[in-house]
């Protein structure tokens, strides 16, 4: 789950990472009196909000309220600004980049840092990026901090300062089950290092350990949110064919085969290993609400039998009929029985993915 900047900074603060003293507002009149200059930061989950005009400065109450009015409700790349984080403007001597991620290749964590901060790390050349895997059982050791200090060209005192940062970031990363904990820019101020921005993704599978964290679901469409609540793996796409299949890999493959024949999927819905009629019903309920022209059901029967899934489908559409046609492809265990059940409900069922895909594309009005 991706967190808003202010939530990420809360976590950082709790784990000892220095962040600017800020507060969150939802209305312009919540701005508190201030001296000097403040920064108003739109709280959205998408990157590049600075360039999109989502971050502004103000040096008087009047100006601040005007800016807040302008930012709140603004649309940034499809995300609506509902909250602003208000912080004093920081005096920045230098900007760095630092993050810890789960590294798939090494199956360990990875510390990434660069003296080129404030820009997307992807745009920094490799030789300017410090990378060290951190084993989860041993954690960050002093030699990693030393190597980082040398790489970034820091003096002894600064290395000590950034060391505290790394240990604290590791603490936040591990205790909060992060997929990613990123500080960009990590800024050097006259008072030392500070996290000027913060990005934090909590591993979805670990949320049961972090019930105190406010749920963020902005990154999902309303329909995706509904599916998540029901525990259904569902992604909304921009085509017009509603794909349901069993298994993530098979569902992806179904999308790909449709595309080969000129079709475009409007949904990715993975039934998983279930043939529970209730679950199948819920899945068809979700699909029914998506803006699609045809449903493409692709089932490979293994542990889940074709006929039980077919029965579930028929029950589901009897309970709440779909407004669009269904094209099915049924293969595997009890294939014939499954086809028969679907046929009786008026659903054409194919054996090969190719034939079914072609039919779905046709019914969807494509190619």
């Amino acid at each position: 789950m991706k967190l808003y900047e202010y939530m990420a900074k809360d976590i950082f603060r709790k784990h000892g990472i220095p962040v600017p003293e800020g507060y969150v507002i939802e209305r312009p009149d919540e701005i508190r009196p201030f001296e000097g200059e403040i920064v108003l930061k739109s709280q959205v989950l998408i990157g590049g909000r600075g360039k999109a005009g989502g971050i502004k400065f103000a040096s008087s109450m009047d100006e601040a309220k005007k800016v807040a009015e302008q930012l709140l409700g603004m649309d940034i790349k499809g995300y609506k600004v509902k909250k602003l984080l208000i912080e004093p403007k920081i005096k920045i001597l230098k900007e760095y980049y630092m993050s810890i991620i789960v590294d798939r290749s090494s199956r360990e964590a990875m510390l990434i840092a660069s003296a080129e901060g404030g820009v997307e790390i992807e745009s920094v050349p490799d030789e300017k990026i410090f990378k060290r895997t951190i084993n989860p059982l041993i954690g960050v050791q002093p030699n990693v901090v030393r190597a980082l200090g040398y790489f970034l060209g820091l003096d002894k005192e600064q290395t000590k300062g950034i060391g505290k940062f790394v240990y604290a970031l590791w603490d936040a990363f591990t205790k909060m089950d992060a997929d990613l904990a990123e500080i960009n820019p990590l800024v050097l101020t006259p008072e030392g290092f500070m996290a000027a921005d913060a990005k934090f993704i909590i591993n979805d599978d670990s949320m049961f350990r972090h019930r105190d964290i406010e749920l963020v679901e902005e990154e999902y469409t309303p329909l995706e949110r509904e599916a998540r609540e029901k525990g259904i793996a569902f992604v909304q796409l921009d085509g017009n064919i509603g794909v349901i299949a069993n298994g993530a890999g098979l569902t992806m493959a179904t999308l790909d085969v449709l595309s080969l024949y000129g079709g475009k999927a409007g949904t990715f819905l993975d039934l998983g290993g279930t043939d529970d009629p209730e679950k199948v019903s819920q899945a068809f309920g979700i699909i029914g609400e998506a803006p699609i022209d045809v449903v493409f059901l692709n089932i490979f029967g293994g542990i889940t039998k074709c006929d039980t899934v077919a029965k579930g489908v028929v029950q589901a559409i009897e309970k709440k009929p779909l407004k669009v046609p269904i094209v099915a492809r049924i293969k595997g265990v009890n294939e014939e029985e499954g086809k028969e059940i679907l046929k009786n409900a008026g659903i054409s069922a194919f054996s090969t993915l190719e034939d079914a895909a072609k039919e779905a594309v046709k019914q969807g009005g494509g190619a």
Partner: protein
């Protein structure tokens, strides 16, 4: 011979008294697997499908000599179950459970490495060597004994592909689902190494998907170390960036993990990449 499991496999089922544990104990026995014990804390003395249940893995190992384990326990307790198996000397721990926290996965994989054990999964369908043993939830009827080694990140998609191989008369030595999570105990490379060494395996099928760079790394490995013909299918060509396609690992983000990159890397080292899953059987047939 087959890789990882064979007739010497003595299987322990962790979480045997649950719904999944019970069902698959039966299915694995039907496949011919020697299921010797089950573990569910507090259920010692019961039996499931004729298999004795113990409170702890150590008790089960001491009483039955189990050397392989399959884990069905719920995600919040999976790491503990896997560590318990490793500490009791189990050499191969097949972890079926999905939604295991990724930090738990990292820890258990590191611990297994320290103790010289192998984990398959988490979030995987396990593995099957037709005619020998199955340690997993793959459907029994899709397999046929033969000489193709299959390694895959997927579940159902793998069954589909294996089934099409079987229908085409192409048997399999071992089929391994390594799981689609970001951190797994066994990688494509690990399996390529085992298949390359296995005298019974003549050809290798790799089923990948978007996310990460495991397929690209596998391509590098194939170039240097694999002499047997490799066939591949990569799912997710049309998945949009930033959207997680079911599996926790299946996401194209920050320009990494695209199907194009994987397909290109595999083709460049001579791997035949299929456009649709069932095409793999055809590609193999052409070469026979």
């Amino acid at each position: 011979m087959a890789v990882l499991v064979n007739k010497d496999t003595k299987l322990l089922v962790q979480g045997i008294t649950g719904h999944q544990g019970r069902y698959h104990t039966m299915a694995m026995k039907e496949f011919g697997t020697n299921v010797v014990a089950g573990v569910t804390p507090g259920k010692a003395g019961e039996t499931v499908e004729g298999v004795p249940v113990f409170n702890t893995v150590q008790d089960a190992v001491d009483s039955t000599g189990a050397n392989t384990s399959i884990v069905f326990v719920p995600a919040p307790f999976t790491m503990d179950a896997v560590l318990e198996a490793i500490d009791a000397g189990i050499e191969l721990v097949v972890t079926i459970t999905e939604h295991v926290p990724v930090h738990d996965a990292m820890k258990m994989v590191s611990y297994a490495k320290m103790k010289g054990a192998r984990i398959i999964g988490p979030n995987c369908p396990g593995l099957a060597s037709p005619g020998k043993a199955k340690v997993g939830i793959l459907p029994n009827m899709v397999f046929k004994e033969g000489n193709v080694g299959v390694v895959s990140k997927s579940g159902t998609l793998t069954y589909e592909i294996v089934n099409s191989l079987t229908e085409a008369g192409i048997g399999q030595s071992t089929t391994v689902g390594i799981g689609g999570d970001p951190v797994t105990g066994t990688s494509f490379i690990d399996m390529l190494e085992l298949f390359e060494k296995d005298p019974e395996t003549e050809r290798i099928v790799m089923v990948g998907e978007i996310g990460g760079t495991a397929e690209e790394e596998a391509a590098e490995y194939i170039k240097e170390h694999v002499t047997k013909p490799v066939y591949a299918y990569i799912a997710g060509r049309t998945a949009p960036p930033g959207k997680r396609m079911g599996h926790a690992g299946a996401i194209v983000s920050r320009g990494r993990g695209t199907a194009e990159s994987k397909i290109k890397a595999l083709r460049s080292v001579g791997v035949k990449v299929a456009k649709i899953p069932t095409e793999i059987a055809e590609l193999i047939k052409e070469d026979l």
